[in-house]
């Protein structure tokens, strides 16, 4: 049976004060956290550790007895992650507890070296595990932040814009992965139904690289649009991307590709039986505003 709980209980005040002093020296961030808040956190945490050590096994922190300590550490860690603490600073907050505990153990068991060694080992295990919990929680908070930002980016970066009656444009910015392609495809197909568009221009000017996977995603989107009765034009193919596509041996099949969005738009207008003309005085180029749909082939 470990003597650690007893030692913690007996020397609680002393451990706390020297722990806080230790943390103060090492990683105190007055810019991020007030003194009072810090004191409260330290006190609560030490109390929960004492509580856990008293009723549970010191080397296994999965048990019920440690629930309180685990929850407390997780919440402290999460708060610190969002406050802008570094992971090492958060871990040091827990690791600084080691020295005060060692001192107390030494004071208590200086008579018997064997017992002292065992308690020191228990203490080390305990503190290391607590520090690991802290780091895990810290990373989990960061992970959540990243996932949220990814979702926001995905929603922001897939707008479908209507260029003209029956002509849609889909400017893609950023790398295309499976998840994004799914969102883009759904947005585009939904917009095709809504606006009754026959031509959709997919602009890949903002796509940094095109590999086989990205090309496959593009092909899927184009095929799905075709199945619904809309034609797709891919625009914004940069010279490097054209080279990459050929080098990789990607077959874009029957899809029309254009270097610039303007070219694709001109083609789309042409396909829907419209044209852009310049006024006779030559000052203001105006697109011919035909509201009524002219049937193709007439």
């Amino acid at each position: 049976m470990s003597k650690l709980p007893e030692i913690i209980r007996r020397h609680e005040d002393q451990i706390r004060s020297s722990w806080l002093k230790e943390v103060n020296n090492a990683v105190r961030r007055t810019d991020l956290m007030s003194d009072k808040e810090f004191q409260i956190q330290g006190r609560e945490l030490l109390a929960s550790i004492a509580e856990g050590a008293e009723s549970g096994d010191v080397s296994h922190l999965d048990g019920k007895a440690w629930n309180h300590a685990r929850e407390l550490l997780t919440s402290i860690s999460a708060t610190r992650a969002s406050q802008g603490f570094k992971p090492s600073e958060t871990a040091t907050f827990v690791l600084s507890l080691k020295q005060p505990l060692f001192q107390s153990v030494r004071k208590e068991l200086s008579g018997s070296p064997d017992a002292m060694f065992e308690e020191l080992w228990n203490t080390t295990l305990l503190i290391d595990k607590l520090a690991l919990i802290t780091t895990d929680a810290f990373l989990a908070t960061r992970e959540q932040l990243i996932i949220r930002q990814q979702q926001e980016m995905m929603e922001l970066s897939t707008p479908v814009v209507k260029l003209w009656e029956g002509i849609l444009a889909l400017p893609i910015i950023g790398t295309l992965d499976s998840a994004r392609t799914q969102v883009i495809m759904e947005n585009l197909l939904g917009a095709i139904v809504q606006t009754n568009s026959r031509v959709a221009i997919i602009d890949i000017t903002g796509v940094p690289t095109v590999d086989t996977l990205v090309a496959q995603h593009l092909l899927k989107t184009v095929t799905a649009a075709r199945l619904m009765g809309a034609e797709c034009i891919i625009s914004g193919v940069r010279p490097q991307i054209a080279q990459t596509i050929v080098h990789l041996g990607i077959d874009l099949g029957q899809i029309t590709t254009k270097a610039k969005l303007a070219d694709a738009f001109a083609l789309a207008l042409q396909k829907s039986g419209r044209s852009v003309i310049r006024n006779s005085n030559g000052t203001a180029p105006v697109a011919a505003p035909k509201k009524t749909e002219t049937p193709r082939g007439e």
Binding site: G190, K220, A224, A225, R226, L227, G229, P295, R296
Partner: protein, 131 residues
């Protein structure tokens, strides 16, 4: 037995699928449609699937087959009104239906058939011969 109605509009046929498409129904449609095309000498088939919400690979293959069979009988097939979810499903199943023509709705589908085949009404043949 349940059947999908095939409507005759001049030299075109109009098929509107408004029930859940199960395999036997699909095969029945395939039979009926080829028979009608041969009987009436139709030059265009318009299949409206705007109310079709669930497809599997069999239905996808059936659409492709109907189009191929119609082509052998010298008729163009246009599939119209496919829903986004259906289109995504077919693409994920690897079926691009490359032999099938598509349009957004019945209106543009008829337009496309008209463009492909010209004579919408049987009378138009007389008009052409008069002109």
């Amino acid at each position: 037995m349940e059947r999908i109605p095939i409507l005759r509009m001049g030299s075109f046929l109009l098929v509107t699928i408004q029930v859940d498409m199960h395999d036997r129904l699909a095969l029945q449609l395939q039979d009926d449609l080829t028979e009608r095309i041969a009987e009436w000498g139709s030059t265009g088939v318009l299949i409206d699937i705007s109310t079709l919400e669930i497809v599997d690979s069999f239905i996808g293959r059936m659409l492709a087959n109907i189009a191929a069979m119609a082509r052998v009988l010298d008729a163009e097939t246009v599939v119209v009104g496919m829903q986004p979810a259906v289109a995504i499903t077919l693409v994920e199943l690897g079926m691009s239906l490359s032999g099938v023509r598509t349009a957004l709705n019945v209106e543009s589908g008829m337009e496309l058939l008209y463009e492909l085949r010209g004579n919408f009404r049987p009378e138009s043949e007389d008009e052409i011969s008069q002109a």
